[in-house]
Amino acid sequence: MPGIELKNLIKTFGAATVIDNVSLSIRPHEFMVFLGPSGCGKSTLLRMIAGLESVDAGEIWIGDRRVDQLAPGERRVAMVFQHYALYPHMTVRENMSFGLRNVRMPTAEIDKRVAAAARMLEIEHLLERKPGQISGGQRQRVAIGRAIVKEPHLFLFDEPLSNLDAALRVRTRIEIAQLHQRVEAAMIFVTHDQVEAMTLAHRIVVMNNRKIEQIGTPMEIYSRPATAFVAGFVGTPAMNFAPVELTDGPNGFVSARLPDGVTIPTRIEQASLPGSKAFKLGIRAESLRICGAEQGDTAGVAQFVERLGDRTLVYVRLSDGTTVVAEDAGTSRVALNDSVGVKFDGACAHLFDDQDRGHHAVADVGS
């Protein structure tokens, strides 16, 4: 199966640029997720690859074929739409075979492919029903089946789970991951849900404001965010940020002084940082631990407590007015307005310079 190459893609709608010089390589059989907030351009990029949006500048290659000038049906891509886009007047079987009949494939081959896909997706008993007679989850399977029978070089998924309820979403997510193991084609999956991105992707493309912010494996994205946007967008709860002053620390590492005067030693090398003076400290909730009011690096008042079962998130208002989210055990007894201490794990802290570029500890996971 071929890989996919996007070269300097640009897309404009009138005066607005919606894709701004995007380049990207997708390896054969890779599961790539486009992740970003609404309006960042991820769906437009997907539609450009599918041929549903024209390319104003740049090239799209699938293997050794340049496809950006080809009609959608000639690109050997298959797409699963957010709202399924099944043909309501056709049976499930007709929906799945429609594309194959259009290319005049022999009936025996069509029947074979439809049967195999239906068996794989466990929808054999639905083949003679119409989309209106089956559930949302089953419709999603049919939409996936319609893509599978084409045996495409590339599967495109445009937020396919967003219409499903929570339980079905988890199940379908697992099924898509299993499907990827069974087919050889690459897959591109668009979502704004970071859980879907983290659990499905080989690599994630984080997009914001028409551009790619970072491309990396899920753990690279999580542990070594390239920009403050990525750091804030990926991870729940969002990363804590605070403006800091840098001071020299031990062994060539820097220490960060918070507005309330607390100094956090980090494992970020002084030599790796630019000359800029303005830095933000970024640190995730799991690197901030709740402790007794006198035992922490700093202290504050619990403003809000989220009990998630396996852990408890405590929103702590520090003495300078900053609120940080810290983590405690699932059995935490912290209550609203309690005075609590907060202990920083500076080894997991990140720094973001005045260009919002991320700088990370030398021994970070995934580095």
Partner: protein, 282 residues
């Protein structure tokens, strides 16, 4: 709590019965003239000259229908009405579907302006253009032809509007899925989108058929040859000479011929007609 609920139920039941009673009364008012016409058509003209209430008493006869079978032009008019009504309905469906698809899905210069011009047609009464149209059809030698009777009705601004709105309501994802399925633009229209507009087409087809069937003015203007009369014109032409005609029973038998086909159409399509009138189809 339960008392309030019970009281509400009683209130709703009474209201329902009131509405049902009014509906039955209206239905009787609507159907009585038709039943009366059927009754009159089954009486001899001599009996009706003495007393029209004799319709309620035997003897009844099929003489009037027999006379129609052997001597009247009503069969020819019925055939003309069927040809014109079906032809006009088919034409409207084809043209309005194509135009609706074009306005809803194709991007071409002046699309919105042309659409507005089409909608202007809704505001122009037929009476305002009938003289010009008559002259035009005369120049084109279209009077006393089926084309002449059908063509004016085929320009249906409401139909274009209805189909445009219906096509617009279909998600473009469907078109895109079909494009990825290697379907040509015509195939997307014909095999994918058009079948999805069947409820709107049923509505439009039924209304066009009923309009064409009941239309009187243009067929009277254009179809001056008795061989090209539609039922409405034909029956009216015999009523014009009522004093000399074969009588009331004979006239009513012709009227029955006029409304029975529509009644049959209604019986077959009543589900769609009810949905169309209630707006559910659109």
């Amino acid at each position: 709590m339960s008392a309030q609920f019970a009281s509400g139920t009683v209130g709703r039941g009474f209201g329902d019965r009131l509405i049902l009673g009014a509906t039955i009364a209206l239905a009787i008012v609507m159907i009585m003239p038709m039943l009366w016409a059927v009754g009159l058509s089954l009486k001899t003209n001599q009996a009706l000259l003495i007393d029209t209430n004799s319709v309620l008493r035997a003897p009844w006869t099929l003489t009037n229908y027999y006379d129609i079978l052997i001597g009247s032009g009503v069969f020819r008019w019925l055939l003309n009405s069927i040809i014109v009504s079906f032809g006009m309905s088919l034409g409207v469906l084809v043209l309005a579907s194509l135009a609706g698809y074009g306005f809803a899905r194709l991007d071409f210069p002046g699309r919105n302006v042309i659409f507005v011009l089409v909608l202007f047609g809704l505001a122009i009464p037929e009476q305002a253009v009938i003289l010009v149209r008559h002259q035009l059809f005369s120049d084109l030698d279209l009077h006393n032809t089926y084309a002449g009777l059908m063509l004016p009705g085929m320009s249906a601004p409401f139909g274009v509007f209805l189909m445009t709105q219906y096509f617009k309501a279909i998600p473009t994802e469907i078109d895109e899925a079909a494009m990825l399925d290697n379907a040509s633009r015509f195939k997307i229209f014909w095999r994918v989108l058009l079948p999805m507009t069947l409820p709107a087409q049923a509505t439009l087809g039924i209304f066009t058929f009923l309009h064409a069937w009941n239309d009187y003015w243009w067929p009277m203007v254009s179809g001056t040859n008795p061989q090209m009369y539609t039922l409405t014109v034909g029956i009216a032409s015999t009523q014009q000479n009522f004093a000399e005609s074969a009588g009331l029973g004979y006239l009513m038998a012709q009227a029955v011929f006029a409304f029975v086909p529509v009644l049959i159409v209604y019986m077959f399509f009543q589900k769609y007609i009810v949905r169309a009138v209630s707006g559910a189809a659109t």
